[in-house]
């Protein structure tokens, strides 16, 4: 059983801050996170990424990267991860820290929770500024370069790049399709003054959701947040932005191909469905996705890979916030058409009711297993509860499992029939004939 989750709220400048606490003694390291949601907007999307990176470089009290990292070492190697991702049409930014449980610390050690919160507040609200009240131009210029490096390095990982490109095309007319990177020209043009103004704006809008898993009780967590975080918050109450976007436009499948100097081709297929997480048919769609490309005996694995030997990997993923399914397959260029036909055949087979008892039972068991193990990991619990809270659907994993267990073959077939192909992206590998060079000859 998942330990009881306490939900409480505390107030700051009239705004209400939700705090979710899961009190449990089963972990040696707990988790504390602060996350805030913003609507995805052009420019803001990548400015947020740049800002977070600059803030991490130094604060008033910890003026350099090494000072921040040394402080973390003193907090028993606590790691702070900076978050920046899209959920539906929202951009989430924030921080998460894994805290070693107090009972493993020598007596007399300072409270790690207080220490981490103080450091987080330093990073977010007290960055190092110059005499004119501007973020240090040295840090801004350096992070602009690193951000541009990241833009250029997207192609280093062909599989992830193909998935990203397919998503950009699939969502080209929605906020989630807005680039999280920007272009090199845009990024290089940002001045320290602009980024500083942007930072002040973010502070005025930063109203976090707080989450804690660990052995401290609700009162202790709330007290630390009230003492350390609350005095820093400046945000006025605002209506929470919605994660749910508008319906996806209907269009003929879009086909795009790019070439890259790699040895393997990457085929990515993007589908749309009207079924999102707030649809009663969501549970059937989750089962569909398992049968198609996620369970250990998924149709894509068993047919495209095992039966036809076309690839090493072929799998699918379902974005329930947007109502989309993405299929990825790494293959030889010459197998591209054959693989696409075979993949589409699998989606058609399910829509035509060709689901074996073993496939259905396997998918249900696989989801049951996946949702039960959430309680084994603080970060999985946080992801689950924060994701549901953002979506405005507070449902326990137990209830969710119950609903999934009631899904029938007919439900899955009906869900399958809502799928329509929207985007076909192919990354052609131009090194296919080369490869297998003997390295010793290269010197």
């Amino acid at each position: 059983m998942i330990p009881q989750l306490y939900l409480s709220e505390f107030t700051a400048t009239g705004a209400r801050i939700p705090l979710r606490v899961c009190h449990t003694e089963k972990f040696k390291a707990g988790l504390l996170s602060l996350s805030a949601a913003f609507p995805i907007r052009e420019r803001d999307s990548w400015m947020l990424a740049l800002l977070l990176a600059v803030l991490r470089r130094g604060s008033e009290k910890y003026p350099s990267l090494s000072a921040i990292n040394r402080r973390l070492d003193c907090l028993y190697g606590t790691e702070i991860s900076i978050r920046n991702f899209y959920r539906g049409d929202l951009q989430i930014i924030g921080f998460a820290a894994e805290l070693l449980d107090d009972s493993y610390l020598p007596t007399g050690t300072e409270s790690l929770m207080d220490g981490v919160l103080e450091l987080l507040c330093q990073i977010l609200f007290h960055p190092l500024l110059d005499e004119e009240g501007c973020l240090l131009s040295r840090y801004v210029e350096s992070e602009k370069q690193l951000h541009c490096d990241q833009i250029r390095a997207r192609k280093n990982q062909p599989r992830a790049y193909a998935a990203e490109r397919c998503r950009e095309l699939l969502y080209s007319e929605e906020p989630i399709g807005i680039s999280a990177y920007g272009t090199e020209e845009e990024v290089m043009a940002v001045t320290p003054r602009e980024l500083t103004d942007f930072w002040r704006g973010v502070c005025r809008r930063f109203l976090p959701d707080c989450f804690y898993v660990g052995s401290a009780d609700e009162g202790k967590v709330q007290s630390a947040l009230s003492r350390i975080l609350l005095p820093e918050l400046q945000a006025e109450p605002v209506a929470s932005p919605s994660l749910w976007g508008s319906e996806a436009p209907l269009r003929a499948p879009l086909r795009t191909e790019e070439a890259l100097a790699v040895s393997q081709g990457q085929l990515a297929l993007g589908f749309r469905t009207e079924i999102t997480g707030r649809d009663p048919r969501f549970y059937a769609m989750a089962v569909y996705q398992e049968i198609l490309g996620s369970s250990p005996i998924a149709k894509l694995m068993m047919n495209v890979r095992e039966k036809h030997s076309l690839c090493y990997s072929c799998s699918s993923s379902y974005n329930a916030y947007k109502g989309s399914i993405l299929i990825l397959c790494g293959l030889k260029n010459e197998n591209r058409e054959k693989a696409e036909r075979e993949i589409l055949r699998q989606t058609e087979d399910i829509a035509n009711g060709q689901i074996s008892d073993a496939e259905l039972a396997g998918a249900l068991a696989s989801l049951e297993n996946a949702y039960r193990r959430i309680e084994d990991s603080p970060s999985a619990m946080e992801q689950y509860y924060y994701g549901r809270a953002l979506a405005g659907m507070e449902i326990t994993p137990e209830e969710l499992r119950r609903r999934i267990s009631r899904v029938t073959r007919e439900d899955v077939v009906a869900a399958a029939r809502t799928l329509r192909l929207d985007t076909v992206y192919f990354l052609r590998g131009t090194l296919e004939e080369k490869g297998g060079e003997e390295l010793d000859d290269m010197e």
């Binding site: 990292n69 370069q145 062909p158 599989r159 393997q264 095992e306």
Partner: protein, 434 residues
């Protein structure tokens, strides 16, 4: 069977160990979590390239045989797939091959006994035909291509090839398209007979399980086996110095990648000494190259390296090396800065405050490692295959002295043991070749 209990007061954990009558060493680590994670593994990996035949002769195996076998064992004689069985139980099955082991695993939240029996059974029931071997060659060829397109994999692999001239650690775990084409069903059967005997394997399970449940599963599946002698892994004679000082390759990358390797000239014969050396090298890496250390911060502030920076020590009974990895417009400059930095620390001596700060951070990492069944089981397995005791590790971290670290700093980080592997963007030429 007799079970021994091993306890750690520091970690507040314990596990049981015993040898099953089939010869299989079993490790049960009780943990009150929902998921159960089990590993059934053999001491057979990509470095084991010599197969002893029953008549006393030896054959050299094609590169990638251990990994190929890992793929093939999931297929049953009736044409079914082991994944299908696990799927019925809601268990997630998988496998992996490293330089020195092949491990089959599942994790589940229900039907532990059924899944465990299936694990023990499919791994010990090989079935191969010409046709099924041929089919797998196509799939693995794509896996090899996928790896070839990963610049970090290539940079790492080239570093190892730069360090070792003869040791089979220099081969890719998957082999090559050419080498796997030489694999036959007969060869795979022979590898199973030699390397997949329970005496050469280990079963590690972590979760809310009892020793009796595990013993019953082993009794039910492995009744035909009796203990046997383990095949001996022989070290290939290899000089202490690095094979090459420098290896350059080019690929689709935005910025050059580098891997600086140091071949450890000493591989202690005693497992306890190897473990101590591993702990000391890990600590030294933390002091020299962590994100709170001077080297990373100086080079990062100057823009010479990016946040993609890491260092780590890899060791086994037949090879050991340390690697430092990153991205830089000028890897040669990073190398010369590294040389100067190491000299500076040698001259000044390791800072005592740095040492204690790193000790605390590593101590905390050690404790945090005991929160998930998969992490615990994989960790325990790697200690078992190194013939070392897992709970002694945090104590070692407390014991390692500054003098020990200084000695390692002088004896391992030397130019003659070093190699530099660089991946240049495809559109740039190699300055050293001009």
């Amino acid at each position: 069977m007799t079970w021994n209990e091993i306890r750690s007061d520091l970690l507040r954990e314990h596990y049981f160990t015993g040898v099953h009558k089939s010869g299989l060493p079993i490790y049960v680590f009780p943990k009150k979590l929902t998921s159960v994670y089990a590993l059934f593994a053999t001491r057979y990996g990509s470095v084991d390239t010599v197969l002893p035949l029953p008549d006393g002769r030896e054959v050299t195996l094609p590169e990638g045989t251990a990994h190929f076998l890992e793929h093939k064992l999931f297929e049953n004689a009736d044409g079914s797939d082991a994944f299908a069985k696990f799927s019925q139980y809601g268990a997630d099955a998988n496998a992996y091959t490293t330089y020195n082991r092949t491990a089959y695993l599942f994790s589940c939240t229900d039907c532990v006994s059924e899944s465990l029996r299936e694990l023990l059974s499919f791994v010990t029931s090989p079935y191969f035909t010409e046709q099924t071997v041929k089919k797998e060659q196509g799939i693995i060829a794509e896996e090899i291509r996928m790896g070839r397109d990963d610049p970090w994999d290539r940079c790492y692999g080239n570093m190892v090839r730069g360090l070792y001239e003869k040791n089979p650690v220099r081969f890719d775990v998957c082999g090559s398209e050419e080498s796997i084409a030489r694999i036959t069903p007969e060869l795979l059967y022979e590898c199973c007979r030699v390397f997949y005997h329970p005496s050469n394997m280990a079963l590690v399970i972590c979760g809310d399980v009892s020793t009796s449940l595990v013993e019953e599963a082993a009794d039910a599946v492995l009744s035909e086996y009796v203990p046997a002698k383990r095949p001996i892994r022989r070290a290939v004679a290899e000089k202490k110095e690095a094979h090459r000082a420098r290896l350059t390759d080019s690929m689709q990358v935005a910025k050059p990648l580098f891997a600086i390797g140091f071949k450890d000239p000493v591989i202690p014969q005693s497992p306890a000494e190897r473990l101590r050396r591993d702990a000391a090298m890990t600590m030294l890496d933390e002091i020299l190259f962590s994100r709170s250390g001077d080297f990373y911060n100086r080079l990062f502030e100057e823009g010479l390296i990016t946040p993609s920076f890491d260092a780590g020590y890899s060791a086994s009974d037949t090879f050991a090396f340390n690697g430092i990895f990153g991205e830089s417009e000028d890897p040669e400059e990073v190398l010369s800065r590294l040389t100067a930095y190491l000299e500076e620390v040698r001259q000044k001596g390791i800072d005592r405050a740095d040492l204690e700060r790193c000790r605390n951070a590593l101590y905390a990492d050690e404790i945090r490692a005991y929160d998930s069944t998969d992490e615990i089981a994989n960790r325990l397995l790697s200690f078992v295959f190194d013939d070392a005791e897992m709970f002694s590790y945090p104590t070692l971290l407390q014991e390692i002295t500054r003098e020990e670290l200084q000695e390692l700093l002088c004896s391992v980080y030397r130019e003659e043991y070093r190699t530099l592997s660089v991946i240049l963007p495809s559109d740039r030429s190699d300055p050293a070749r001009e």
